[in-house]
């Protein structure tokens, strides 16, 4: 139970009990971590029930348990009871006890099913009508009979949770990513614990063309997909201490990138994932690739949470996104033409420096003068959050031609540094304005171009100056990977979102 749950908990409390606890009592309970176990049941964004236990030495005193009226009759009370008892036993409790109204036959039956029995009566215990309380105690919770009973209760609870599409926070989700030139698969537990992550990069196949060739990407995904998933399941089996690969049937969900990206590349991962879902009955969840990049920040640093603004810069994307709350996105602006990484690639290609252009140019730029050549800062004062990189790219290419025609040698470090600075100036200026206008204190940088140290540092400095914290994931989580897809997929899965077998790839999928 978090403080943010208390309004909903208190609403149920006042609706179901004749003499309800006050809001302040719940606040006080929620603050006590050492001797309390509180569990809430949520479906989507709705809180359906709660239960709380007080630990006193080896005794666990069940203080409260309630289920919203419209969610009753489906075993949720029993599931909550099972969860708090298990929580208490984990914390060293041996016996469980409680008082219950003599007239509440249903509750007495529920507690009996958990192995508690009637040991006496407190006459006139309840205020109001002075109803009698039945006192119930359990046997030693670790005795074989009681362990078996707890096991049964837990198994039933699991099916109840599945019925409500509820999750106990330890669900295993397989993520599949094929939106560009990396075939990737990952298994995550509970949305934030990395169990395995495999990325098969195609970079060597595209490098000689100076950019990603969509047809080659689609072919390589088709060749790699089964092997990459097998590897992710095998490594997951190892991490989880299983005797072999993690069985697909043990997954709670399969999360797949369904856009944005190269349509032919997306189709391969999506068609495969749909086949896997049909074969195994494991539900399928669609993830927006850009949302995945934002979740990569949360994987690296669990304290990152909305409200925030994210700048997504990669070979395929340049977007500023406002995320005011979980699951809510507003795309503030995108590139009108080339993506940032693409502009680096094209400039590097004209200079004959190789592929990918980002790391090559930024290495040269480190030795150059960023003020040597005054390249245009496109859209810098456009008043919106749109980006344009093709004008800058053309200006750089024209400069190169002009210098070559004039017979002058090109100073590559100066050119790289000046080009990079023009990119950085625009992105920093728009990022700062977005953070200010959206009133956020958190900023996420994501995508492969986040590896550019000069961009990272310029952004960090400018944002810190206005009191905004910037998060950048480690490089392996900046570039395309499936861990971020599994993480974002877990979130969508918990909200009950599903993709059908008729799902199609959406190359221009928008985030908000």
């Amino acid at each position: 139970m978090r403080n943010s749950d208390i309004d909903a908990v208190h609403a149920i409390e006042t609706a179901v009990f004749p003499s309800p606890w006050s809001r302040a009592m719940f606040m006080e309970e929620s603050a006590r971590e050492n001797d309390r176990v509180w569990i809430v049941a949520e479906a989507g964004n709705e809180l359906l029930g709660y239960a709380g236990i007080m630990l006193v030495g080896e005794d666990a005193h069940i203080m409260n348990l309630a289920v919203r009226r419209d969610a009753r009759g489906r075993g949720l009370g029993s599931a909550l009871l099972s969860a708090v008892i298990d929580g208490a036993v984990c914390r060293g409790a041996v016996h469980v006890t409680l008082e219950v109204r003599e007239s509440n036959v249903a509750a007495i039956g529920l507690y009996e099913s958990a192995g508690l029995h009637d040991v006496g009566m407190r006459p006139g215990y309840y205020s109001g009508g002075g109803e009698n309380a039945v006192i119930m105690w359990s046997d030693d919770m670790n005795a074989p009979g009681m362990q078996a009973r707890r096991g049964q209760l837990a198994a039933r609870a699991e099916s109840v949770l599945a019925d409500f599409e509820l999750h106990d926070g330890s669900e295993l989700v397989l993520g599949i990513e094929s939106s560009c030139d990396e075939t990737a698969a990952s298994v995550m537990r509970g949305g934030n614990e990395l169990v395995s992550s495999v990325v098969a990069s195609q970079i060597v196949f595209h490098s000689r063309f100076g950019g990603v060739v969509p047809e080659i990407a689609s072919r390589k995904h088709t060749e790699a997909i089964v092997g990459v998933i097998d590897e992710a399941l095998a490594r997951a089996g190892e991490s989880l201490g299983l005797d072999g690969p993690l069985p697909i049937g043990d997954l709670s969900a399969i999360a797949v990138t369904h856009g944005p990206g190269l349509v032919g590349a997306l189709v391969v991962g999506l068609a495969y994932a749909k086949g896997l879902s049909l074969a195994t009955g494991v539900p399928l969840v669609g993830v927006n690739h850009l949302e995945g990049h934002i979740f990569a920040n949360m994987l690296a640093d669990p304290t990152v949470e909305p409200p925030l603004v994210a700048l997504l810069v990669s070979g395929g994307h340049t977007s500023l996104v406002h995320m005011p709350a979980w699951g809510e996105y507003h795309t503030l602006g995108e590139t009108l033409d080339d993506a940032t990484g693409e502009a680096f690639d094209k400039v590097a290609k004209v200079l004959g420096l190789g592929y990918p252009g980002g790391p090559i140019l930024s290495t040269y730029a480190a030795d150059g003068d960023p003020a040597a050549i005054d390249f245009p800062r496109a859209m810098m004062r456009s008043g919106d959050y749109a980006f344009s990189l093709s004008g800058l790219k053309t200006a750089v290419i024209n400069h190169i031609r002009h210098e070559r025609e004039a017979g002058r040698e090109i100073d590559i470090p100066d050119l790289a540094a000046s080009f990079q600075q023009a990119v950085i100036d625009v992105q920093v200026s728009k990022s700062v304005r977005a953070a200010e206008e959206c009133g956020v204190k958190m900023f996420c940088l994501a995508g492969g171009v986040a590896a550019n140290a000069a961009l990272r540092e310029a952004l960090r400095e400018a944002l810190e100056a206005i009191g905004v914290r910037m998060s950048v994931p480690p490089f392996a989580l900046c570039t395309d990977n499936a861990a971020m897809i599994a993480a974002a997929g877990t979130y969508r899965f918990r909200r009950g979102e599903r993709l059908g077998l008729d799902a199609e790839a959406v190359p221009g999928l928008r985030l908000g």
Binding site: E223, A271, D502
Partner: protein, 245 residues
């Protein structure tokens, strides 16, 4: 012991799906579901597979092998079929086999007694032409999958003196080109027969079973047959040939 077989093909503008029952090398056709689905294979394939299974009182986990038409055809179309089949077979833990999309087209004419020329549309002003020797109940492929301009394929067919029954969705664009090149010894199959069918796939699968060459069933190893490289690679080859590299 009989094995429930699922076969499908999405290489053309038609989706072909079939259920079969295999005993040894014999495959009995149980049910089919063929429908036109231009650029809609990813949308409709797996729902239709699930429906066909339901209609026949079968559960997906009863399948013991999956067969996919591996092309040649539309690159994306073939990949939709192959990737879906990989997911299904991999998830079920059953073998996956690839059969030729063009064989499935030829097998639709297995009741004839003639030379059959399958001319499938390869887009970009090209076709996939293959000749088959067809006798009732028997179809023999006479050459490998390849891609070429339709006028070259027509000229090649024109050199054969025997009558040729032409089929394949390349005829949508090029039927007059072929009938002009083969004025006296070609006939054109009825248009509904130009694309693969579920029955044709199952027949092609049964033929491949007896002749071998289906591979070991590893879903990782079944790949599309493209017959040509990506444009980027073809341009690179051309530049190398022209001495520009």
């Amino acid at each position: 012991m009989s094995h429930l077989v699922l076969a499908f093909d999405t290489a053309s503008d038609s989706v072909a799906i079939a259920l079969g029952l295999r005993e040894g090398l014999d495959v009995e056709l149980l049910a089919t579901c063929d429908f036109p689905a231009r650029r809609a294979a990813n949308l409709r394939l797996l729902d239709s597979v699930a429906q066909l299974l339901r209609d026949n009182g079968r559960a997906v986990n009863e399948l013991s092998e999956v067969v996919v038409g591996h092309g040649p055809g539309s690159f994306t179309g073939v990949r939709i079929g192959v990737a879906s089949a990989k997911g299904l077979a991999h998830g079920l833990g059953v073998p996956l086999y690839g059969v030729s999309t063009l064989d499935a087209v030829a097998w639709r004419l297995a009741d004839r007694d003639t030379l059959v020329g399958v001319v499938a549309d390869a887009m970009r002003s090209e076709v996939y032409p293959v000749l088959f020797r067809v006798e009732p109940g028997h179809v023999e492929r006479l050459g490998p999958d390849r891609v070429m301009r339709p006028e070259y394929a027509a000229a090649e067919f024109a050199e054969i003196s025997e009558p040729i029954l032409l089929t394949g969705d390349g005829l949508g664009k090029y039927s007059s080109l072929f009938t002009d090149a083969l004025p006296n010894h070609s006939t054109i199959a009825e248009e509904p027969l130009w694309t693969p069918s579920g029955a044709g796939l199952i027949a092609a699968y049964q033929a491949a079973l007896s002749s071998g060459g289906l591979g070991d069933g590893d879903p990782a190893l079944v790949l599309p047959v493209y017959t040509r490289m990506s444009d980027a690679e073809e341009n690179e080859q051309r530049r190398i040939r022209d001495g520009a590299l």
